[in-house]
């Protein structure tokens, strides 16, 4: 049993001390106060679980003390002690929020049991509150996930519909370009303006095409191929792909990878996409002479990769938004705002987690954690629902 923080309040010193001694023998240590003021000043310094409070005291009466306690310390339970003649005070006390009352002369056994009961009530309320908070948090998280999922579906639909007209624009612009190149049109007026405009059309189509492809890549779920993956080799491959750019900008890449004999079952292609995205983001985040650290760790049933940079860090108000689609701080045309959105989608589809921590002026750290065995989940929302129930169960089954 956890220690109960107990406070005995009674103006009769002898009575109070005897009770304290006898409770101590049963393993219940307590603080003592001789009047209401003393009781309240102790509570100000030290929080209590249970207060055993005499009703009839000179100065501030028990009921007044009780109202003070329930008002200020909702997590403290009060057991009132009343005299034979003043049992009505006990009822009044319960109305004012006391846990219960005992009539003097009290039996120690009774008091002891009441204290335990009061304490159990506190613990139960505490657990209920935690559970409620947890539920709320999970519900919020599910809303975000569902919102992202439906956004993804919608976006992919739009992307697909846009691809066809894009192809028409591209071919039309290409056709015009061919026409302009013909001998018979060699000397048309303002030819350069014409060609320049065609360039712009083609660049615009190119840009729109990149966005639609990324969006479709996010939803193209059925394409995933699960194989045995050596995460360290995969990470090394991804690093190789950005090494050239890093060297060019004098950015140092540090590896902190402990070789693990284990492999994981996952989708190599998609993980590589995530790693590349994280590495590219890190490269964009740091100035020259910055450092990017890639760490790998084995947790038994999962493996984690962390990509840290020494860049400017992400402001707190942006941290929540970075996984949302189309959120980008890069200038238009530089970033699609889909990299992290897609990465998160991939990692979660593969049963893993992605987390970010950032400090302004110090840098940012992204961690992905992937399970060694991929659980087959047909419906990813459903699997989340199950996790949710399991998490709550494991948290509150003691």
């Amino acid at each position: 049993m956890k220690t109960i923080r107990l406070l005995l309040v009674d103006d009769e010193d002898h009575f109070r001390q005897t009770i304290a001694k006898r409770l101590a023998k049963r393993g219940l240590a307590s603080d003592q106060a001789a009047n209401g003021n003393e009781c309240l000043s102790i509570l100000e310094k030290k929080s209590m679980d249970v207060v055993v409070l005499d009703v009839k005291m000179p100065g501030m009466g028990g009921i007044e003390v009780l109202r003070n306690i329930t008002g200020k310390y909702p997590k403290t339970e009060v057991i009132l002690l009343t005299g034979q003649a003043t049992a009505s005070d006990g009822v009044e006390g319960i109305k004012s929020g006391a846990f219960d009352y005992l009539t003097k002369p009290i039996e120690l056994e009774h008091l002891f049991n009441k204290i335990i009961q009061a304490y159990e009530k506190i613990r139960r309320l505490d657990a209920e509150q935690k559970e409620a908070e947890y539920r709320k948090q999970m519900a919020q998280q599910m809303i975000v996930t569902e919102r992202l999922a439906s956004l993804g579906t919608l976006a992919a639909g739009v992307a697909h519909e846009i691809n066809n007209p894009l192809a028409i624009i591209r071919e039309s612009a290409g056709w015009m370009r061919q026409l302009v190149a013909k001998d018979e049109l060699k000397d048309i007026p303002r030819r350069e303006d014409f060609v320049k405009a065609l360039d712009k059309v083609e660049k615009g189509v190119e840009r729109a095409g990149r966005i639609t492809h990324q969006l479709l890549g996010f939803v193209g779920k059925s394409e995933s191929a699960i194989t045995e993956v050596n995460l360290m080799e995969l990470t090394e491959e991804a690093i190789q792909l950005v090494t050239h750019e890093a060297q060019k900008r004098e950015i140092k890449i540090v590896r902190q990878m402990e070789p693990s004999p284990d492999t994981i079952w996952s989708d190599a292609y998609q993980i590589r996409q995530v790693l590349l995205n994280l590495l590219t983001n890190a490269l964009h985040a740091v100035n020259s002479e910055g450092i990017i650290t890639i760490a790998m760790e084995d947790f038994g049933d999962s493996q984690a990769i962390t990509v840290s940079d020494t860049g400017q860090g992400i402001p707190r108000e942006n941290l929540d938004k970075i996984f949302e689609p189309f959120f980008s701080t890069k200038s238009p045309g530089q970033g699609t705002g889909l990299g992290l959105f897609v990465s998160r989608g991939i990692v979660e589809k593969l049963g893993g987690t992605i987390e970010v921590a950032s400090k302004i002026g110090q840098g940012t750290r992204f961690s992905i954690r992937l399970p060694k065995q991929l659980k087959k989940t047909d419906d990813y929302n459903e699997s989340r629902g199950e996790n949710w129930v399991e998490k709550i169960k494991s948290r509150f089954s003691e």
């Binding site: 697909h160 066809n164 071919e171 056709w175 479709l216 193209g220 394409e223």
Partner: protein
Amino acid sequence: MIKIPTRVLLVDDEKDFVEMLGLRLAEVGENVTPAHSGQECLQVLEKKEIDVVILDILMPGMDGIATLKEIKKRFPLVEVIMLTGHGTTESAVEGLKLGAFDYLLKPAHFGELTTKLESARKRKDEQAERIRKAEAKLLLRKSGDI
């Protein structure tokens, strides 16, 4: 060198796309026939000699894969290049297994498309050549027998 036009059958349900790409291919010297569905594609193949079919995968009605199967069954010499609009690399791979020559992601680069067209055409010509040689050999043997 005079370019021999490749006889291209361009199949896509997007009429504007077919029209524009058709104009471009014609401009670089190909002989283009348009079609806007799988059925229309097969009808053309019955009437006209075609070297290469450029075939969209996602079409209403008979889709690209079904059309490809029919083409390979009835006109095995005709080469097919698949156009995948979606991130449907899967269907492209399926197409390759069913005998398509290659595939391109839409929107495709024109240069890439013409390069693939040339290679497809070359393969078809070589195959036709092999068949001719084999037939000639057969004929020679038969006449020797006589």
